[in-house]
Symmetry: C2
Amino acid sequence: MTSTIPVISIHPIEGLPEILPGDDLPGLLAGALGRMSFSLADGDVIVVAQKVVSKAEGARVALEAVEPTPETRRWAEQWDKDPRMVELVLRETRRIVRRERGLIISETRHGFVCANAGIDLSNSGGKDLAILLPEDSDRSAGQIRQRLAEKAGAEAPGGPEAGAGAGAGAGAAPGGGFRKNTPDIAVIVSDTFGRPWRVGLTQVALGVAGLAPLLDLRDSPDVDGRTLHATIIAVADELACAADLVCGKIARVPAAVIRGYRFERPREEQPAGGAALIRDPEMDLFR
Amino acid sequence: MTSTIPVISIHPIEGLPEILPGDDLPGLLAGALGRMSFSLADGDVIVVAQKVVSKAEGARVALEAVEPTPETRRWAEQWDKDPRMVELVLRETRRIVRRERGLIISETRHGFVCANAGIDLSNSGGKDLAILLPEDSDRSAGQIRQRLAEKAGAEAPGGPEAGAGAGAGAGAAPGGGFRKNTPDIAVIVSDTFGRPWRVGLTQVALGVAGLAPLLDLRDSPDVDGRTLHATIIAVADELACAADLVCGKIARVPAAVIRGYRFERPREEQPAGGAALIRDPEMDLFR
């Protein structure tokens, strides 16, 4: 098949162990890829589920340590919810958007608007163990990107010694570029959010490193020469959704590699990271 | 690379001409796939942009034929909008959700909540020509699915004659199953919607045929045995997002094939089609 646009492929990263606090997640991802005989290459996008990032970072709370206020307890019991969970959600909340019928939609202290402040009890690694969002998902994405690229470079033919740098293990240059033999990859930390008006959950990008999260087509003429004045595509969210097609909730596949998508590098004059995907409250009609 | 979960691939369908009212879109898609030497197979998901579906169905309006009311004209001029476009948006609207700062977010007469009632002036095929949403996107998806499968079956080795049926050209059985040699494909008609709280547009599935649009994991135990009680994944929307990675806005690639995603067939007891992705207003906190 001939094609001027490359075919995109999505590869599940399988065989990861249960992730525990303090685990070297990039190292475990590199090991799993190695056992799959999969070599990362320039332009690969690695999408990692928020839950394993949070687990590795120890962003978890045992519900037995949470003491709900009397008010929270009353509201939770009215709606048949665990009062400790509700208390934890409120602690992670900067501003409540809706609190109705037992549901809490809020802006988390990180700025994301979602249900339950992004806190999750499923697949948490223990009974009544709550997993919180990563403290800084963009930082998490950046760290995974750097460490994973280093490991991939070290394992590639030639190894890091073939590169120009002196410091072993410092494969990524500070500016975001990479040394020779270290693949120029991007990393997305993704989570599962609901949305108004539509049934079902989809993936969103909480943290992004190495690619521009928004594709701005505003200055591009369409095929009739009309300017596409309102078209900014949330490509990082679309990549997160694509990865979910192989990740699933049940199989233990918390990460995937997307190959063949020609992403744009972050540009200095544009907002970067997953933070760029959060709408300014001033511009939002639904806060 | 060994993998128990199949790798997913996304293939742009290239070389389609400008679509005009009355065009045989499934035939044009089959022709483009033929020129790409791409044979559709069981399990393929074909995602087609709403705009070409609407164009083929003639769902378009010349703005010069639209007469705005005085009230609409006043509001449009206040916000520097084309009053004829605003009038058309209001005609396609069942209920306004927000009308602020020159923006109209409304529930269309089809039930979708989106900006500008889904009407688009870009790449419309002519100056001041507005493209409306398809009259019934699920019906459109069903028709494309049936015709495309028939054409693929006719062109496959063995042809439709090898099948059990008598009527040539009637490859698809009424129940949604297909005869021998006719691939069992799914079709999604997708569009580009914005969303509250997050910057940028993503794809949504307006019409769906041949696959269950929602993946209901509510009865599945997670790896700790905890029931995932609130987890329904909008897989049709995620598939639409994945296809957008190869479709883009500028290159004339209004369709893609996703291969390797193990979708579930629609089940009689579940809501089907793109309509199943529209949240019941009674259950929506943001109407």
